[in-house]
Amino acid sequence: MSSLTILAILFGAGTLAYFIGRRRSIQACGGQQQNLHSRPSYHGFYLAILTALPAIILLVVWSLAERPVTRYVAMQELPASVVEGSDAQQSLTMSVVDTIAEGVPKLSAQEFEVLRKARLGFATTSDARDILVRHSVILGSNPDPNVLGAAFKLAEARATSRFLLPIACFAVAGLGFLWGYTRIRPGLRARNIVERVMRSGLFLASTVAVLTTVGIVLSVLFETIHFFQFVSPFDFLFGTVWDPRFATVGQAEGQFGLLPLLWGTLFISLVALLVAVPVGLFAAIYMSEYAGSKVRAFAKPVLEILAGIPTIVYGFFALSVFGPLLRDLGFNIGLEISASSVLTAGIVMGVMIIPFVSSLSDDIMNAVPQSLREGSYGLGATQSETIKKVILPAALPGIVGAILLAASRAIGETMIVVLAAGIAANLTLNPLEPVTTITVKIVSQLTGDLEFNSPQTLVAFALGLTLFVITLGLNVYALYIVRKYREQYE
């Protein structure tokens, strides 16, 4: 019985318990509902929670624990050389054990006998392999008897777990139901209990966001530390050559210098900001200071469309239209512009982040008190002089915050650069040449076959951590500035 079926049955049982609990509470007070502390439906929920909740918790915990526990049991069958061996060897052996164990339940009694003999050494392991291949279990070599033994143990442990799980869940549900049923009486404070459970549920939901952050930090940090066992942090952070080579397990032959990637990322983001800041700022000035309410009501959402378009669309546009266009344009005026130049990716990305600059700056300039404007007009300043000399300086911290947020967007942006920026890591100052970015390299190191023990794969997590730290720093600082600024005029 799959976990999903058990879950569905538990939900069904909970619903049933709700109706039984309601009936029971009405019976318990002899139909005089005013004598109940809580309304009958709360008694229903009380019984439903007692029936389903502990069983569901058991189901979840069991399902999470099943894999590590069965794995541990199977591991006991393997010789010490494997168990104490390197991580790579261990995970390789365990994955073979895993694939064989998948196939074991599919075997007929006769075939199983052959495998058992092979394990004890009475049949050849190549026979065992042939049988497994017939059940679409593909193996790289003939299985070792020890591995077969571990696979048997694993399959057995799994079968036991699958057999026990529904029994345990239904027993817990039944006990919960019986206990709750006997406790229902008019004086039971069912509502308070139900509400306390619901409140805990709300609290748990709110911790998911925090858990996500913790999860990001831990998972990325863990793999990064793993990476630094192959490559020294110093070589990673200050290396000027990016040349990871191909993934060969356990051998750090390549060079993993962060600097060319970091430079590429910053260079493209700089071009993007050179486009987005003037355009976004002037658009914000026009919308907040000059435009009538109708123009504003039209222009603001239209600008925000730019931020709503998926970045893959920008990437495709840059790749198929804008890059070739720039290249031809450059060709006509005698410049050699690569189709995947810094300019291509930078300009398209700049357009994408215009709304991040304009929307927030617009809000911030609107928050500048009207009295400041009127004071300036009273001194005879024109509108543009007021904006330049009074409003912009007053709104400056907020605008800087907006620009920093936009910069963090640009640094973390992936799809535009994956499609439209270069592949080769290049330390260049020429915006007409291609460079590559951190995000591009994360994608290229993690697509295709993954081997979690090679620095070539793990470097993606180190790059991810770098990216996370940079963007987080920018965000925290930007939000701090904006918050501080808001308080100033409140």
């Binding site: 939901a205 495709f316 546009f317 640094i411």
Partner: protein, 435 residues
């Protein structure tokens, strides 16, 4: 007195007037910069949409050719046993289609060069088309029928005008002979562009003319379903706790800052999280839309929490106090009043979150959804792709036919987003309440 007239006249002096004109000119110029900035953004938007539309609209049409195909028994089912499906799967349907083509064009099947040229007019996917016909209705074996079959991507490109007829013969992907045949077929009405249902139904294929979005659409559907089932309840519950229960102080502040920062974490980092936690730690399968949905759930959660909190905060205190005053508990206040009243706001926020999730690509690349999937995924645990990932994969392919497909797929994605956004705007306008 004289001082005043002097200063008054100095305002009207040539010099002062000139300065004033200069300042007014600067004023107008400044204003023009603002208009120019908005126009620049607008122009870019229009350019983006038109360039995708002009490239993509033709993907919704596909060239087909009508051929008299003889479903000969010797080729399809020589044993005569209608149960022998593997015979049908191995039958040489390409040969049948080609023979039909030679008949239609009236060419000599003995001449190898002519034959090779003619073969290139047909898609490499015709065998699947014919095989499916036979499997659906085995009674057509032994008859000859007029069948609409897919033309090759080069024939398609010629008809759509993306191969220039003026290019010299030796540099054109279709040679003069083939052009003549195509013209002949078109004149007879035996070759035309039809609505491309395959674009929406087919799975992955290395031939542009048989590649479709079917798997991607199903994958995206599963992912959206996961997001709706997980992110919405979690997000609303979290927002309720933070607004209604959380004691104001350090913890609430931490969670608040946390959520704001989470909303700005680069999406690719969520992909790394998914890879390390869901796939590596929990052992969920790679390329599964369930994992994609989980990653997108974590990504959209901050958006939903932030919008829901704003909606809850907009419920006026008078309603809360009235409810508490007649003896409702806090939970009853939430269930009976706060939630129903903030529902429109929550719905709008949810749609905005979904729009964001539907268009997101980068995290899906990390969890292996860049896969060549031909079969429809039956459950969220089967390998699948997503709409934006399919666009990415097609955009990275070299064949000409895929450029058109990519733009077409982009149009499909944009259409979904426009519909969802319009729904959000409609809901906001319809249910927005001013207290």
């Amino acid at each position: 007195m004289t001082d005043q007239t002097a200063s008054l006249s100095s305002f009207k002096s040539e010099e002062a007037q000139k300065k004033l004109r200069k300042r007014h000119w600067a004023e107008r110029r400044f204003r023009m910069y603002g208009i120019a900035a908005i126009l620049f953004a607008l122009a870019f938007l229009v350019f983006l949409f038109t360039s995708i539309f002009t490239q993509g609209w033709s993907a919704f049409l596909q060239t087909s050719v009508k051929l008299p195909v003889e479903f000969s028994r010797e080729v399809i089912n020589p044993s005569g046993n209608p149960e022998a499906e593997d015979e049908i799967f191995q039958a040489n349907f390409v040969k049948l289609a080609r023979e039909g083509l030679y008949k239609e064009l009236g060419i000599d099947p003995k001449d190898r060069k002519v034959r090779r040229d003619a073969n290139r007019l047909l898609s490499r996917g015709v065998d699947v088309q014919l095989r499916d016909m036979v499997l659906r209705d085995p009674s057509i074996i032994g008859t000859t029928e007029d069948v609409w079959l897919l033309a090759s991507d080069n024939a398609d490109a010629l008809l759509k005008g993306s191969i220039d007829r003026e290019t010299p013969n030796d540099r054109r992907a279709v040679n003069d002979q083939q052009v003549a045949w195509i013209d002949q077929l078109v004149d007879n009405g035996d070759m035309k562009k039809k609505f491309n249902t395959g674009l929406f139904l087919n799975g992955a294929s290395s031939n542009p003319e048989t590649a479709g979005l079917g798997v991607a659409l199903i994958g995206s559907f599963f992912m959206m379903l996961t997001v709706i089932l997980l992110a919405v309840p979690l997000g609303v519950c979290a927002a309720l706790y933070l607004e209604e229960y959380a004691p104001k102080g350090k913890i609430a502040d931490t969670i608040e800052v946390n959520i704001n920062n989470l909303a700005a974490v680069p999406s690719i980092v969520f992909g790394l999280l998914g890879l390390a936690v869901f796939i590596n730690f929990f052992g969920l399968p790679r390329s599964a839309s369930l994992v994609g949905g989980l990653v997108l759930t974590l990504m959209t959660l901050p958006t939903i929490i932030i919008t829901t909190r704003a909606a809850i905060r907009a419920v006026p205190p008078s309603i809360r106090e009235a409810a508490l005053g007649v003896g409702a508990s806090k939970m009853q206040l939430i269930g009976h009043h706060v939630l129903p009243l903030s529902l429109p706001g929550i719905l709008t926020g949810t749609i905005i979150g979904l729009v964001q999730a539907l268009g997101e690509t980068a995290p899906l690349l990390m969890i292996g959804m860049v896969a060549f999937v031909v079969e429809y995924p039956a459950t969220p645990l089967d390998p699948a792709t997503g709409l934006p990932v399919q666009i990415y994969m097609w955009a990275s392919s070299a064949e000409r036919g895929f450029v058109e497909r990519t733009a077409g797929a982009t149009m499909v994605l944009l259409a979904f987003l426009i519909v969802m956004n319009s729904l959000a705007v409609y809901l906001r306008n319809k249910f927005e309440r001013k207290w």
